[in-house]
């Protein structure tokens, strides 16, 4: 099993190196592997299909130019998602789009009552998340949708892992407080 995972790592490193060198087939392989994850995080942050699509497109354009700066293949996924998230935030700022979004059918069809264990309505939580500052929503999306650990979050935000943990803990506590205040 270890030999296989080692081979996979080599393959990823080879694909990354080829893509960085201008190999379009290798780059397309990266697109196939990472586009969906980038799009999902951008959707969670931008709350708009058009913004998420534009952000991911822009991120791939940046990746085409700057892929050579990613030296460690294990950091590629987090780097791509971070670039896409930053583009999402940039688009949100430039379009001055506030958190006015459609409510998805999924959201309305899900039970919206209080979670008996926590005492939080999922509709209230969704509403609160949609009203959040995009930077805060980006932090949450990178943590809970993309699954970034504190080191990856720290790299994405350019702050220390402890600073990242503190910022995340404060944000989650604030959300809980706002929901309990009703």
């Amino acid at each position: 099993m270890e030999a296989i995972s080692g081979a996979v790592r080599l393959d990823v490193a080879g694909t990354l190196a080829s893509a960085a060198g201008g190999d379009e087939i290798a780059f397309a392989r990266l697109v196939e592997s990472h586009d969906a994850a980038m799009y999902r995080v951008c959707m969670a942050v931008g709350r708009d299909h058009g913004i998420a699509s534009d952000a991911v497109q822009a991120a791939w354009t940046i990746a085409w130019r700057k892929l050579g700066s990613v030296r460690d293949p294990e950091r590629l996924r987090a780097w791509l998602i971070t670039v896409a998230v930053n583009e999402t935030k940039s688009l949100l700022r430039s379009r001055r789009k506030r958190s006015l979004t459609e409510v998805s059918v999924d959201a309305t069809s899900r039970p919206g009552g209080l979670d008996p264990a926590v005492g939080v309505s999922s509709i209230d939580l969704r509403d609160l998340l949609e009203r959040l500052d995009p930077d805060d929503r980006a932090l949450l999306a990178m943590r809970y949708v993309a699954g970034f650990n504190s080191t990856e979050l720290a790299r994405a935000l350019g702050i220390s892992p402890s600073g990242t943990r503190t910022r995340l803990e404060r944000l989650v506590a604030r959300l809980r407080q706002e929901l309990s205040d009703g």
């Binding site: 379009e24 780059f27 397309a28 392989r29 697109v31 196939e32 586009d35 969906a36 994850a37 799009y39 999902r40 959707m43 969670a44 497109q57 791939w60 354009t61 940046i62 990746a63 085409w64 130019r65 700057k66 780097w79 971070t82 670039v83 930053n86 583009e87 935030k89 940039s90 430039s94 998805s104 999924d106 959201a107 979670d115 264990a117 926590v118 939080v120 999922s122 939580l125 969704r126 998340l129 930077d135 949450l140 999306a141 809970y144 949708v145 650990n149 080191t151 790299r155 994405a156 935000l157 350019g158 702050i159 220390s160 892992p161 402890s162 600073g163 943990r165 404060r170 989650v172 959300l175």
Partner: protein, 325 residues
């Protein structure tokens, strides 16, 4: 499962739902689009109105420096002076500092005489202080980003610098949190430990434990902490490493360790509402009330130093010294 964990789980589910099912994409079409626009969004966006203002401001600052030959601005990378073997401090760290009294016994540091201006005029480009480390010799080290530039994909602009010493040194990516070692160096604990000697970084693959000021630092697997009362490591994956410090009485995570400081029988803690201190007779006092504090550290002279978090608006932030009791 406690309420915090349940809430986080619900939060994760809600965000996952907001992210939706993903999408299918024509990878070759995307590739062609990306490769056909080598100067795509980044080129376009740099000429947005906001960027023009920012770029113009930078150009003006640079031009001013060139014309008048003045002191280099702190947001420039300076060649670190005094590339000594270990981070050494000026004789008294307060000499050469421009400060103001913000409340009795508390100074805010405005700038030093080595080119670091913590009160930069542009609200988005001030020093954003993330970590504070005080060496055994009293040197004040600050890990910092230039606020407003740190949300781009590159993190090359994270730096460490010392009060009263010219220049700043770029922190390599992924090196994590700093902690002062007993031998005078600073250890950054991230993916793997890296030692900073005041001018350069080098890997430190030494034993899993290091003597630090006030305790012993251990870098362990989450599973190694079972039974040590560190129940907040549950979210760490088995492959991660956790930095914890034994302070002689209890285990504390490195990140939290930077939020407490003890000196002269006084123990202080960073809070969202200032620095909360208690002394040996348990009488409490809160400094800098209303200020979000990111970290505190004790200096050899008995003072407590604090760094404040900077808000996304550019408000807040700052470096403070609380006088000894």
């Amino acid at each position: 499962m406690d309420d915090d964990t349940r809430f986080e789980r619900q939060l994760a589910e809600e965000l996952d739902d907001m992210a939706g099912p993903g999408r299918g994409v024509d990878a070759m079409a995307m590739t062609r689009a990306a490769s056909a626009r080598p100067r795509g969004p980044a080129f376009r966006s740099i000429f947005s109105a906001t960027r023009v203002v920012v770029v113009g401001a930078i150009a003006a600052v640079v031009a001013t420096v060139l014309v008048i030959g003045g002191t280099p601005r702190p947001d420039q990378d300076l060649t670190p002076a005094a590339a000594s073997a270990s981070p050494s401090a000026p004789a008294t760290v307060l000499s050469g500092l421009v400060t103001e009294v913000v409340e009795p016994g508390v100074l805010r540091i405005i700038r030093d005489d080595a080119g670091h201006d913590l009160d930069e005029g542009h609200p988005d480009w001030r020093y954003d202080l993330d970590d504070l480390v005080i060496g055994s010799d009293g040197s004040i080290w600050l890990a910092t980003t230039l606020h407003g530039t740190d949300n781009r994909a590159t993190t090359d602009d994270r730096s460490i610098w010392s009060l009263g010493r010219p220049g700043k040194v770029t922190i390599p990516q992924g090196v994590g949190d700093p902690v002062p070692l007993a031998d005078g160096a600073i250890l950054f604990v991230g993916d793997s430990p890296v030692r900073f000697d005041g001018s350069s970084f080098r890997p430190d693959g030494g034993p899993p434990a290091w003597p630090v000021l006030g305790g012993t630092l251990w870098v362990l697997k989450p599973g190694d902490l079972t039974g040590l009362g560190m129940d907040d490591v549950a979210g760490e994956s088995p492959g991660d490493r956790v930095a914890v410090i034994w302070d002689g009485g209890s285990w504390i995570r490195l990140g939290e360790w930077g939020r407490v400081a003890s000196s002269n029988g006084r123990k202080c803690q960073a809070t969202d509402d200032g620095v909360a201190c208690v002394d040996l007779v348990r009488s409490g006092r809160r400094f800098l009330r209303g200020t979000l504090i990111n970290g505190v550290a004790a200096a050899p002279d008995g003072s407590i130093w604090a760094i404040a978090g900077q808000e996304e608006t550019g408000d807040g932030g700052g470096l403070f010294r609380i006088a000894p009791p």
